[in-house]
Every structure is written in C-alpha cells, then in structure tokens.
C-alpha cells in the first residue's frame, strides 16, 4: 500500500503528462488517469460514505468533475491531490445531503431489503456466531473495523482513509484537507486512539484476537 517517495514522484509526473495530454484533447489519457485512480478514489468514497452504491455514484461524479474542470488544472498542482480534493468535496456534500446515512448507529434499522428490524449490532453478533471457523476472525475483524471507521468523526475519517487506504503522505493530506500537517497528524492520532478503543469495546484484541472467544 505504501509507496516510496520516488515511486510517488514518478507516478505524479506521469499523471501530470496524462493530464496535459487530456487538456489537449486526448481522451485516452483520461482513460489512463481513470484506471490509475479509480480504486483509490472509490475506496476513499466508500469509507467516507459507507455505502457501495453511493461510492460508485461518487466515483462517477468525481471523474465527471475532473473532465469538466480539466481546463482549469495547472501543472503546479498534483493530479492526485487535485482529484482527491474533488472527491473529498463531493463526499462532504453527499454526507451533508444524506445525514441519515452518515449517522447510522448501532440501533438503526437496516435497509428493508435486508432483514427487517435487524440492527447493525445484531448483524455483528450474528457474524460472530455464524462464522466460527478459520477465516471468520478475519471477516469479523473487518466488520468491526468498518464499524470503527464509520464511527470516526468526518475529519478523522478522511485523514485516516487517505493515509491508510490511499497511502498519501501527511503533507499531501494537509493540502487536500486545507489544514496544517501537524493538525493532520493530530487527527490521525485521535483516529487511531478511537479505533483502538472501539476494537477493545467490541472485544477484539489489538492483535486481532477475539477476547470474547478467549
């Protein structure tokens, strides 16, 4: 996931070349940019919005905005930073428009097409019981971690996701979020602390062991 700075620089330069080509009307360069960044942006949107459909919609919207704003892009800006800024802004707008999705609590009823009256905590409990064998810990850990990420504040979540899932350096995150690097690190520190506590509450040891089972 993490890349060396030289690798990142090389990719950034390549991005810039593709973007300039796209500005000159080469749509194939846009396709290259899309293929490179789609997964990272999708992952970011998924973690931010907590819903795959919403994340896919966001991905579409983000890249359409990239197309529309391409003439305004300047070489001084990193393409990845620029795209993630667009993605972040879109996610914030989407979260504000659909606050009910963002504030899904453990007591909130899940979607009707799933099981009526079943809450998220019930589902986690079901997962614990339904997956007793090898690999179940992995699945359960994932569910708890997703839940922990969802429970992070918006500010902490975006920093955590960008660093942990998109492998962005803190400096770049700071430029996307529009705060200082120290503030970003501080938010990251609180996000990690929050997640550690959440895992502890869910009965999962930091190393991934299920304390309830022990």
């Amino acid at each position: 996931m993490t890349k060396t700075s030289s690798e990142r620089d090389g990719r950034d330069q390549e991005d810039a070349v593709w973007m300039m080509e796209f500005q000159r009307g080469n749509s194939y360069s846009f396709e290259k940019l899309l293929r490179r960044h789609r997964s990272g942006v999708f992952s970011f949107c998924l973690k931010m919005l907590g819903d795959k459909t919403a994340a896919e919609d966001a991905l579409q919207e983000v890249f359409l905005r990239v197309v529309k704003s391409a003439p305004k892009w300047k070489k001084q800006a990193k393409v990845r930073t620029w795209i993630y800024t667009i993605a972040r802004n879109h996610c914030i707008d989407a979260l504000r428009k659909a606050t009910h999705r963002k504030t899904a609590s453990l007591d909130q009823t899940l979607a009707k097409q799933e099981t009526e009256g079943v809450t998220l905590s019930d589902r986690i409990a079901d997962q614990k019981e339904a997956l007793p064998d090898r690999g179940t810990a992995n699945v359960r850990l994932r569910a708890v971690l997703l839940e922990a990420i969802e429970s992070l504040s918006e500010e902490q979540r975006e920093v955590f996701v960008m660093r942990e899932y998109s492998g962005m350096p803190f400096k770049e995150i700071a430029s996307i979020v529009g705060v200082s690097e120290n503030t970003v690190k501080s938010r990251m520190r609180y996000a990690l602390e929050h997640m550690r506590n959440h895992l502890a509450k869910a009965g999962i040891a930091p190393e991934g062991k299920d304390r309830n089972r022990e």
Partner: protein, 446 residues
Amino acid sequence: MSELEDNRLVDYLYGEMDPSERQAFQEDMEADQALAKTVEDMQSMLGSLRTLDTEEGPSDHLDSLILAQAKQTIESQEESWIQKLLGRPGLALAFSGAFALIIAVIVLPNRQTQAPVNDFSGVEVEQQREQFASKTAPDTSPPPASDTIVSSAKEEEPSQVARKKIENGRIVSKAHQAQLAQTPQAESRQDKQLRSTFAGKRKSVKKSRSIIVAPLGVKMKNERSSKVAAQDLGISISQRGVQGIRSKPEVGTLGGLDGALSSNRSNMKGSGGGAAPKVTAKGSPSQPTTTRGSSESKTRLNPSGRIKKRALTGPAPRTQRTQSRASARVSTSVSEDPAQREAWAREQARNAQKMARKFLTNGDVRAARKVYLETRTRVRGTVAFFEVSLWLAQLEYSQGRFAEARQFASEAGRSRDQSIQQKAREVVARVREDQSQLDSVPASTD
C-alpha cells in the same frame, strides 16, 4: 498527550522519523510503559487492518459508463462558442460593445486627424471661409497673433487643430482670425457648415488628384501623402521639361506649372483647359480678387511674386520635413522611357528587399509583406514585378500561408526570366508537398 507527542507517535508508527528521532522516541518508550503499550496496540491494530482481504472495487461497467459520460461532457463543452454567445444576450451585448469601443478607439481618431486637414487644405476653402466670415463676423478688431492662441486640450476640436495648422502656415485672414475669437460652439457650427458646403468640391479635387497621381504609381492615402504626391508630380513634371517647382516657386514658373497641370488633366480627362491662371498680387491697391484658372486652381501672389496660397492641384508649401520626404521620393517618380522605368523598378525592388529583410530580421513579417505588396503594385508591368511576386511567394510560404504563396508563385512563374520561373515552380512544388503532408496527418488521436 500534547500535539508534539501526537505527531511523534504518528511519525513513529508511519516510519516518518529520522533515525536519531526514532532512537530518542524508543528511549522514551522504554522510560514510559504506557506509551510503549499504546504504540504496541496501535502497531498491532494497523497490522491487522493491513492484512485484511482487499475489498472489492467498483463495478466493471462503471469505467465504460464514466468514459461515455466524459465523452458526452467533452462534446457539450466543445459546443460552438457562437451558440453559447447567442444563448447569452448579456454576453453578446458585451461583445458588441467591446467591438464598438475598439472601432471607436482605433478608427475614429484617425478620421479626426485626417479629416480636418482635408477640410481646409485648399485655397478655395480658405477663401470661402473668408466670405463666410465676412457675413457672420465682421472684422472689427485686430486679430491676435496666431501663435498666441492657446486652447485647452478639452476644448481643442479637430477643426481647431486644423485651424492651428493653417495659422502656422500663415494663411489666416483677418476675418478668419476674428472667427477664431468666437466661441468653440459657434466655430464648430461654422466648420460644419463649411464642411457641408465644400464636401462636393473636395471630392472632385480628390478625384482629379488621384487621376493625375495614379499613373505615376503614387498611392494616395491621405492628405499628407497627397501633398507628397503633388510634390512628386511637380518633380516629375520638371523632369519632363517644365521648370523645377520647389517650395517657393517663382512667378514665372507658376503659370507653367498650372498650365502643365491643367494640360495634364485635360489630357487625362479629354477635356479642355490649360490656360494659365490670372494672378493678382496681394498688397496691390485693388483688393485681392479670387481668380480661377483653367478649372479648379486658385493662386494668390504677394508683391514679391511668391505664392501666398498654394494652388489646389499644385505643390504644397513645403516644410523641411515634407521637403526631405519629397526628395526621398524623387526616385519614385517614373520616367516614360521603358528602359528607365525598368531601371527604376529594379531599384524599387532592391530597396524593398532591403527594407523587408530588415523587418524580417526584427520579426515583423507584416511590415515586410506590406513593403513587398506596395512595391509590387508600384512596379507592375515591369520585370521587377515578377521578382517581387516571387519574394512574396517565398515569404508567404515561410509563414505557412500556402494559398497566397501559390498565388504569388504562379504570378512569378509568368516571368520570362528562367531563374524566376524555376524558383516559382519550386515554391509551388513545396507548397504542394507540405499540403499533402498536412492532409495525411490524422485529425485527432481519439
């Protein structure tokens, strides 16, 4: 935990510490068990997070959907700007306003600086002005010296500028000076009236001048160039036997000049005329009477026999500058002898080439092109015409203006000179080659 410690913890976890900082932090962990536990828990949690199966990505069809939408967006963005302009009346209005402003800034000042000079260029105009002034403003007081008239920049209308020029030329009558003392509004009205009165006459004067000057290849753009043209005309006439006309011609030459001009006109128009004008000397006991020559010219002489006001179609009183310009243009006068004309055309072409090269050295292609075009017009009908056409073709080819290059090259190709023909063919061939190369390039990489 302070912000600094937060940063150190995060830097340590993500490996963004210098070795020395890392060493110091590890020492701190050894001293602080709680910090060590926190670090251990977080490392473990992050390790677990990273070992989880990678989650599924976006649907496969999403890429094609995004690409299709992007294509649609690009197409809509490439909508004609005219359509956008028409869709926004405000923008269209702003555009037309800007265009009008540009026209006003560029065109009108030129018109204002040229028109007044034309308005009061002739003796007739001056005399009619006097007549008009005698009707409207009687000569009651001695006029101020013309050089002492001061007007503010705001009040200075184009007509006033022209008036100043006339004053500096010392052809202002007393009545006119009395007129100058009147209000600017009244002057403006009078000027308008005069302008409308003599508009028709001006046209006829211009026409007659152009008829005279055109065969000599001198382009009349404005009054200034027409003055020079008239001077050139004087020179060329002198070359044909008439006594040389300079800035202050003698009385004896005046009749010859006017007669020559008249005969020249009559030859061209096929009409009569050519009689020398009657001349009345200023300062004689009788009032200066306006005299009409063969057709349109009017002259008035002072007692010393010098021309006070210039003939309408004769040479203008020359300032030092116009004299130098005229002398520079002596070479532009064309002899009727074919051999001499050819020599003159060759010289013109050489000069044009030198000038164009200078312009091209400075990167001013437009000026170079203009020089060639003007020279080409002047030397039409001579061998040099084909040579200049060839240079123009080469210039246009170098600028990628293939259609023009081809046109000029084809004209140059009509030359009898083999080398010019060959070079013209070469230009045409190169144009063809370049055009075929351009045609073979795909329009888009998409």
